[in-house]
Symmetry: C2
Subunit: 573 residues, 2 copies
């Protein structure tokens, strides 16, 4: 089994030709230097590091896994060295501000780095995966004293960070969190004592870095029940005097996959911690981390699917079984299985998801850069609209596809896919978790429809859909994509909104169809993305045109099914 | 984690009320005694054995797994004792002829036993899973001398059997098999020396029984290349004089799941073996085993889905998170997650597949009984038509659903589903293999469309579809199901057959749409099955009517998508 090799040429084509990122970024005062050459250089260096240092550790990460003993976690062979090389080379701080020790590069480059990392080694990548969110959270919410101690260490990745939210009885429902924070008496720094148990803490304990910074949701005394009673706290593994905090890793979970990442049960025994931000505003501060995390999870989906596709594509070219219809092989000779329609269909459909996913995800990252740095408030507003609506779609649809698509790629191997030797089954096991964490995919759909589409009467959504149409040349070859966009807009205006807003609508109707709505929007985004790719490569080299055709043949037909299901749900029998 | 408990009341309702099996079976001279009471007694006893003896071993089967050392395989704790109890109680020989040491009961009861066993412990069940096929193969093809030695041992399950087909370079394409069989000089029994390597041999080596009977595809000297050059041989682990044959288990595979079943690499070093049937007719003899095996794999799909659903359903009733829309819970209290539409949708859709799958699978088993024993050749002909067309659909569609549905059930657990503790992720890993073995699901689709529908111009299929319609009362509440059946018939007559038979049709068109066609037929069979269930329970108790509604809401919409995809493939742009 060969390890994953990033194909940065494909990624760059999408970034530079399809999305014309240099022009977009250079319009931002913060990124006037982000030209094609700079981005190319960063991505090639990143690809080299990922392919040479991180990817070869993936198999050991799965087989050996993170090991727990007496409260300590030993990471799989090579993980620590690779991480030390990673942060010392400055990769974690790519998109952090220069004044915090970062390099001040655009978010989109960081996004592309994490896509490659996830493809190469999902387990290893979990460790630095939350860093940037923790950096933003500390930067925007912590006191100056706290920032002085922690911001630079987290920005550079010298210390890793965790997000401690979930408790045994509080998963999707953070309002049920019980961990208590009680003011410490006579503490000069005004700290609190944290007590409680957190579960599913990725990287709660490990040997990659000398310190670990925990960001913890907890409840102050006399705080109201529910989410409004939650505050955010920072509790390190080691304080600056070298003493250890009262945070214990009780065990790590045995999981379906992702064995390279320790999923920890963390117990806080009156651990001294600083508050981050205002009391009762813990979820707000945490959401900064969670939004960044959701885009990253969408990118994991794209990366894992690319990794699975690479393996299946290579195998399909080498393995010969049966004669394909219309074969020109010599009598008695079998054809490469990539010549068989059922296998082609699998491979082309995955490429359709991967390439369109990149267009949508990189654009989202570019919109994040725009949101942060564009001088025009209206442009920032449109960037905010895009990120708010598209992030849950990316997270949900592309992690669903990472799992089902990796499983389809496994199928290309036949029985050989089910044995561990080829490494394809690891991708299926690893990918499964991304449908769950950072908000289950069902919660993403509810977030999209009930919190982002319905409250403003669909205005933001219709705005984004209109932008998508404006973004396409009005030429015959893009009519199908334009119609696809218009079809969803018309459905939203004419069916969805009036019926959901009607006083007769049962209170649960929106929830019944939220999943369908998210999928429909994902497919429309893909239709737009494929038109954009085609606009950048109008001749249509085989590489792109096969996947483009694959999109309309094998992926798009789901759209009508989703509309039909929504219509049936909206129209009581 | 509780182990699986068969729910025989649901299964019996389908067998006895929906399919009216007693009347059907008693029309067969061989099964005049198969009344409701007998079947109930057998199924309840089976359920007891499965729930008490086999199910509790499932977790250990996964965690400890089969262990390989120096050519020997040690099965997981308890497996041998359970197997000894199983065969001594007569379960393997349930449907074997009484003259061969069996109990002469209907195939449908054996089918239901295997569904329960697969649900309870897929890995353990692999061991006896091939027995009945081996029994039929030896019974119908072996010489009397060979039968005298092996038939009864295999019928009773005192010895287990294997099917040695696959080789490293010959998976789906058995024509590429290279294992050689050379006549032994001066062998009194006229045996052959087998030499070659077979892979993916389930139960090739183990400690469950005192002997193992291998049925091996190999090539005689000077035989033509391709499938017609293959003959079938029988080679035991031990000969009757107690000496060991030259068959070696070289290693067992590390797999994604199914750890309770050793998947062996078997090396034959001039191993003395008897021919079974005529030279060059090996595939014919083997197909007896493979058809039985395909129905069993479909039943595995149904069983695994039932096991996953049971776990998810229990969890969804107990776990409380968030308030459901329209909740009547007290302020601040969370609702059981089964009250959330996204979770209900998952649970109802799986029940729609499980219950309809049982109707289709049990009917298929009843048709096998009819095919074997009905005095009327016309009725046997219609039974043969059904089995031939429906077996690949069951194998493919219900194993696809076992995997995607078990994954959906995992989603109900949120993060708890991804950790091993609850046992749900094991079902996902175990279920994945069923999409591959006994002919990949893509090969099932090709078998259905290219070998069974097209060669007779669709006659058999249209016959089966007409029978389905005739089988439903012509009443308003069954119009939708009747229309569904007619829609596929009309599409077959008006679109599919004319276009595929046209001289202009590209040679690969049928292969491009084979998967869609199989899915469309699966959905039509489900529409029929749900109408049949409704006919048996016209009041529609909540238990059945919820899943029936779930079928039309969440499962059926795929049908139009499949028709649209096929139409697009048939109509060049």
């Amino acid at each position: 089994m060969n390890s994953f090799q990033p194909r940065t040429d494909d990624m760059q084509f999408i970034l530079q030709q399809v999305l014309q990122a240099p022009a977009q970024l250079q319009a931002l005062p913060a990124h006037t230097e982000a030209d094609e050459a700079l981005m190319q250089q960063v991505l090639e260096e990143a690809g080299k590091f990922v392919g040479e240092v991180v990817a070869p550790l993936n198999r050991d990460g799965d087989e050996t896994g993170a090991q727990f003993r007496d409260g300590a976690v030993t990471m799989p062979p090579g993980f620590r060295d690779a991480y030390q090389a990673f942060w010392q080379a400055g990769w974690p701080s790519l998109a952090c501000a220069t004044e915090d020790g970062g390099q001040g590069l655009p978010t989109v480059l960081e996004a592309m780095l994490y896509e490659m990392l996830s493809a190469a080694n999902h387990g290893w990548t979990m460790a630095p995966g939350l860093l940037h969110g923790a950096y933003e959270c500390i930067k925007h919410h912590a006191s100056d004293a706290l920032k002085a101690r922690y911001l630079k260490k987290v920005a550079t990745g010298e210390w890793l960070a965790t997000m401690c939210l979930t408790e045994p009885h509080a998963g999707s429902d953070l309002g049920l969190v019980r961990t208590r924070a009680v003011p410490l008496t006579n503490d000069k720094e005004g700290r609190y004592a944290l007590s409680g148990t957190k579960i599913f803490i990725s990287g709660g304990e490990h040997d990659l870095t000398d310190n670990i910074v925990h960001l913890v949701l907890a409840r102050l005394p006399d705080s109201p029940p529910g989410p409004k009673g939650l505050s955010l706290f920072l509790c390190p593994k080691f304080y600056s005097d070298g003493s250890r905090s009262a945070v214990v890793c009780e065990r790590i979970e045995e999981k379906m996959g992702l064995h390279g990442s320790p999923t920890c049960v963390m117990r806080f025994d009156e651990a001294a911690a600083w508050i981050v931000g205002e009391p009762g505003k813990g979820l707000n501060a945490m959401f900064v981390m969670m939004n960044a995390a959701r885009l990253h999870v969408g990118l994991q989906g794209i990366g894992l699917l690319e990794a699975a596709w690479q393996k299946a594509d290579t195998y399909a070219k080498e393995r010969r079984q049966m004669r394909a219809p219309g074969s020109h092989s010599k009598a008695g000779e079998a054809d490469a299985i990539e010549a068989h329609p059922a296998m082609r269909r699998i491979l082309d459909a995955q490429r359709a998801w991967i390439d369109a996913g990149r267009v949508v995800a990189y654009r989202t990252a570019l919109e994040l850069d725009t949101l942060k740095h564009h001088p025009d408030p209206e442009r920032r507003e449109s960037a905010s609209r895009w990120c708010s609506l598209v992030t849950p779609v990316l997270k949900s649809a592309w992690t669903d596809q990472a799992f089902t698509g990796a499983s389809a790629c496994l199928q290309v191997f036949g029985g050989h896919g089910y044995v561990r030797e080829w490494g394809i089954e690891q991708h299926v096991r690893d990918a499964r978790v991304a449908m769950i964490y950072e908000g289950t995919n069902e919660i993403q759909a509810i977030d999209l429809l009930l919190r982002k589409v319905l409250p403003d009467g669909g205005q933001a959504l219709l705005h984004v859909l209109a932008d998508l149409t404006d973004d396409l040349i009005d030429a015959p070859q893009y009519q199908r994509a334009r119609q696809a966009i218009e079809q969803l807009a018309a459905f939203t205006r004419q069916q969805l909104l009036p019926r959901l807003q009607s006083p007769d609508a049962p209170i649960d109707t929106a929830q019944w169809l939220a999943d369908d709505f998210l999928r429909a929007l994902a497919l429309v985004l893909m239709a737009w993305a494929w038109a954009r790719i085609d606009m950048a490569d109008p001749g249509g080299t085989t590489r792109w045109s096969t996947a483009h055709t694959g999109f309309w043949r094998w992926v798009w037909p789901e759209f009508d099914m989703r509309l039909a299901t929504m219509n049936a749900t909206l129209t009581p029998a």
